[in-house]
């Protein structure tokens, strides 16, 4: 009885979809194809309601850099940036992401963000499984706070867990990347020798 209550329409939302059904008064729309903007590129993906964003990124879009580790929101490995916020893609339904701007580790790497070089320089990874999540979280921090204090870095990174215990290195890397970014902003060359 419940399912008859509202009308379901297949609709493409977000990237110039074709059919946007508006039905009577009680119109509620259930999407099953979503338009995602990932790293500046638009994708149209058919999704099932229970698919997480992490699943769609890695299994449907081939963006395997976003890792799922705990799968319960507790480790930060699956972090992506959505409309400026660092969020957990394992706890996000892909069906709710249409029209959202999503940045993944691939986008950050492609843009040659100074974090990448700093992470390599400071050997921030051992097994490396947690690293994409750390980098993405750090990127979100630097987007908001170009000059974070050590306390602020700790506070922002506290939801990323590393089984290999690489924590101290991250702080140095993030500070260094922040400095490079500030140089860039100031119009400097911004690259270390």
């Amino acid at each position: 009885m419940a399912t008859q209550m509202f009308v379901v329409a297949k609709t493409y939302v977000g990237c110039g979809g074709s059919t946007m059904a508006t039905v009577q008064e009680k119109s509620v729309v259930s999407e099953d194809t979503v338009g995602l903007r990932v790293n500046g590129e638009s994708h149209r993906v058919r999704v099932e309601p229970q698919w997480t964003l992490q699943y769609v990124l890695s299994e449907k879009l081939g963006l395997t850099g976003t890792k799922e580790f705990c799968g319960e929101g507790a480790c930060g490995a699956c972090t992506v940036i959505m409309d400026g916020r660092p969020v957990l893609s394992c706890m996000t339904l892909a069906i709710e992401c249409s029209g959202k701007n999503i940045e993944t580790i691939e986008g950050i790497a492609r843009s040659n963000h100074p974090l990448i070089e700093a992470y390599i320089k400071h050997s921030c990874m051992q097994c490396g499984f947690c690293t994409p999540g750390f980098v993405v979280t750090a990127k979100a921090l630097l987007d908001r706070k170009p000059d974070p204090t050590v306390e602020e870095i700790k506070e922002a990174m506290v939801g990323n867990l590393c089984r290999c215990g690489t924590y101290p290195a991250h702080i140095k890397a993030i500070q260094e990347a922040a400095a490079v970014l500030r140089d860039v902003l100031r119009g400097g060359v911004g690259r270390e020798q």
């Binding site: 319960e72 929101g73 939801g159």
Partner: protein
């Protein structure tokens, strides 16, 4: 994750109407950090999964934090991070800002919403373990694992009842055991008996002969030994028979309606009792010279003394039920009853012998007849070998009676002990007492001899499973052999006798034609008990009688049947004494020695517990409930600050917003949605603070958290509000400490005193006593943080 339908609501009305119309099948998804965790791991019982998720994130206008006049208003969709970093909140409402800042991890705060946080499901790591590894009480299972296991995310203020307990669920009469056991613990056995009598009018009888499914399912059984519920029942049953006044009384009003009950077994007695209590005149017709049916003529007196049955019948008679004995109702008599009474209940039991299919069957004595005769005039079978055919309770009763008459009984059963339908407890007793068993043996022929009977038996082996799920016994070719017995009794299934009913009450295959409720034969003519089900148990017959009484009552007063027995759900504050969690053994039931037992057919084999023993048993009851905790970090801050929650239907004080339930932790009704949180601006003389103790600072639920808001006047406390969370199924407001603080200055000593007041009535579990110490320290510090010594906006 299981699939579901996903709907994005675009307005509050849309969201609430879907929720309402879904009949509880839809859930809101906001940030999803709580809900998806629950859904991803397959932790919910099958029925608990939402079929529809209503996404509310796209509803515009629900994401804001601003001051309006003298209060702060926060939209339901506000992210926790935005609350934590909001300057107005940090400076003006420090307890709230700090609570938000200390919630979960940065990522969860970026996703999680204010409404989602206060609506999050209660925490318990047994409950949240993936794939239902602990199918606990809250999910409809038997036991709560936290009572005796690791309990860091669990209550120190007692359990909350979530649905019926395992014992109640197992009982055909849904007796509320924990409730009446609590009354015994409180020293009020009369109140306990009253609860018992609500659904079982014959506790002295069931207290002796019931197979006690309740004990089989008792959660305590998973820990050490089940509570001796039946013995307690027997004690209360004897109490009410010793002093029936106040328990079995004539009704206060009379309806003038007359009901005839055919059969005075437990089904008939139960219906008669409940109908009489409803004010009707009840007449019970019985063909035997004594009332009680199987209680008198079936169950042997060493298990159920006749005197108990008699006193039970007397008590019922004293309420005004009329018993007409020695009166067999035939077809004509039945027609007359239906004409002269307003309603008739047929509870004539199952007495008719069935054919065993043995050649020469006429020389076998039916088991029920033997038991009946044994009661009226015991046979002289001393020293004789008596064969008993069958594997049910009647066979065991016959064999054990034979032993007491000095005979040597041998039970012939065609399957093995494992398949015997008799109760295990009875089989064990029969073995102990020396009944011989011939398993996998089928008597196929009997021949009368001058001295006794020659029985031809055939050996059997077990084959494929049959419809009943038991292996089918198959004859071993050529295995026939002869046994000589002095007497052979067949104790195989008895059937109800429908011959006195009008022909149209029975279908072509000889089955009763009952209506869709399974109770009525015709308007105002109902049937129940063994008469409908075939041989069952006293407890089930009582249940059938009570159920029939409800239908008859509804018929007589012309209203729909009322169901007043729905399991208690979510009662608040069902507390228990933690000392019951220490391992203990059941009290020993006094019993006769083997030789004493075998000496007499009529001396009861077990004795009653005394009051002390009964209290000890009642003290062993866990009073099963859920001890998961509400662990929202915002909740205590909101309660301390005197916030209100505005929903789509009403405005609720934050303090009244939380409740303990199976899948819910709030008082929200179906289709109700949180829209906004309003916090009054604290006065200039007020300070607030929030503290959280968690295992890891990075990301963890609180072991305990605490918020306080204190306003002072000239250094003295004017008013204080203190709230703890993660210590009970809902936030716990520390009113005792608040009262204590008024009029005092806040200092080390008063803060410590306040903390002691909060924890004075804590009821820790077996393994979380340490939480009391943590809570005490947090309360003290949070109070101090609101005191004069602390800087502005302490946190």
């Amino acid at each position: 994750m299981k699939t579901f339908r996903h709907v994005s609501a675009r307005s509050i009305e849309e969201a609430t109407s879907i929720l309402r119309e879904s009949g509880g099948k839809a859930r809101i998804i906001a940030g999803g950090t709580d809900l998806l965790g629950e859904m991803r791991d397959g932790i919910l019982p099958e029925a608990g999964y939402p079929e529809i998720l209503v996404n509310i994130k796209d509803i515009p206008g629900l994401d804001y934090v601003r001051e309006e006049g003298d209060r702060l208003v926060v939209g339901a969709l506000t992210r926790l991070e935005d609350l934590a970093t909001n300057e107005t909140v940090k400076s003006g409402y420090p307890a709230l800002g700090e609570a938000a800042r200390r919630t979960a991890s940065p990522h969860i705060r970026e996703m999680g919403t204010v409404a989602g946080n206060i609506c999050q499901n209660n925490r318990c790591w047994y409950y949240w373990v993936p794939n239902n590894a602990f199918y606990c009480l809250r999910k409809g299972g038997k036991a709560c694992y936290a009572l005796t296991g690791d309990a860091r995310y669990h209550s120190i203020f007692g359990a909350a009842r979530v649905g019926a307990t395992a014992c109640t669920r197992a009982c055909p009469n849904s007796i509320d055991m924990p409730d009446y056991l609590s009354k015994i613990r409180e020293g009020d056995p009369a109140a306990a008996a009253e609860i018992l009598l609500k659904t079982n009018p014959l506790p002295a009888i069931t207290g002796r002969v019931c197979p006690h499914w309740c004990e089989g399912d008792c959660a305590r059984g998973e820990f050490d030994e089940p509570v001796s519920i039946r013995e307690v029942e027997r004690f209360l049953g004897d109490q009410v028979l010793n002093e029936p006044e106040g328990f079995y009384e004539p009704p206060h009003r009379s309806t003038g309606r007359r009901v005839a009950v055919i059969g005075s077994g437990p089904a008939g007695l139960s219906a008669a009792h409940y109908l009489r209590q409803a004010g009707h005149w009840v007449t019970v017709f019985e063909r035997m010279p004594e009332a009680g049916g199987l209680l008198v003529y079936g169950i042997p007196p060493y298990r159920l003394p006749r005197d108990v049955v008699r006193r039970q019948i007397d008590a019922l008679e004293d309420t005004g039920i009329e018993f007409v004995l020695n009166t067999e109702i035939d077809r004509e008599g039945f027609e007359e009853l239906t004409r002269t009474y307003d309603a008739v209940f047929v509870a004539a039991g199952a007495w008719k012998e069935t054919e065993a299919g043995i050649a020469g069957e006429q020389c076998l004595v039916p088991g029920t007849e033997f038991l009946r005769r044994t009661y009226e005039q015991p046979q002289d079978v001393a020293g004789k070998t008596v064969g008993v055919i069958g594997g049910g309770n009647t066979a065991i009763d016959v064999a054990r009676s034979l032993l007491r008459l000095g005979a040597r009984p041998v039970i012939f059963y065609r399957r093995t002990k494992d398949e015997m339908p008799a109760l295990d407890e009875e089989i064990r007793k029969a073995e102990e007492e020396g009944v011989r068993f011939e398993f996998l043996t089928l008597p196929v022929g009997a021949g009368q001899e001058t001295e006794g009977v020659e029985l031809t038996c055939c050996r059997m082996e077990l084959g494929e499973l049959d419809e009943s799920g038991r292996p089918r016994p198959v004859r071993v070719e050529g295995s026939e052999y002869a046994v000589h017995c002095d007497l052979v009794i067949k104790a195989i299934v008895e059937k109800p006798d429908y011959s006195f009913l009008p022909a149209d009450f029975v279908d072509g295959r000889g089955r009763l034609r009952l209506d869709e409720t399974g109770h009525s034969l015709r308007r105002g003519v109902l049937a129940g008990g063994d008469f409908v089900t075939g041989p069952a148990t006293v407890a089930e017959a009582i249940a059938a009688g009570r159920e029939a009484a409800k239908y008859i009552e509804a018929y007589l007063v012309g209203k729909a049947r009322v169901d007043d027995e729905t399991a208690p759900v979510c009662t608040f504050g069902q507390r228990f004494d933690g000392s019951c969690l220490e391992p203990s053994t059941r009290v020993e039931v006094p019993a006769l020695s083997l030789t004493e037992k075998l000496r007499s057919l009529t001396v009861e084999e077990t004795g009653s517990l005394d009051r002390r023993a009964v209290e000890a048993e009642a003290g062993r009851c866990f009073n099963c409930g859920c001890v998961a905790v509400s662990s929202s970090d915002l909740a205590p801050a909101l309660i301390a600050l005197g916030a209100k929650i505005r929903t789509s239907q009403r405005v609720i004080d934050a303090e009244d917003f939380f409740s303990v339930g199976v899948d819910t932790s709030t008082v929200l009704g179906p289709g109700e949605m949180v829209l906004e949180v309003e916090v009054p601006r604290p006065g200039t003389d007020a300070r607030s603070a929030f503290l959280k103790f968690a295992l890891r600072k990075s990301i963890d639920f609180p072991i305990v958290n605490c918020a306080a808001a204190v306003s002072t006047d000239g250094g003295l406390v004017k008013s204080a509000r203190i709230c703890l969370n993660s210590v009970y199924g809902a936030p716990v407001r520390a009113t005792a400490a608040e009262r204590y603080l008024v009029g005092k200055t806040v200092d080390e000593a008063t803060a410590a005193e306040a903390a002691d007041a909060v924890l004075a009535d804590a009821l820790p579990l077996l393994n979380n006593r340490y939480k009391i110490q943590i809570a005490r320290t947090l309360v003290k510090r949070v109070v101090l943080a609101c005191g004069p010594g602390a800087g502005p906006g302490a946190g």
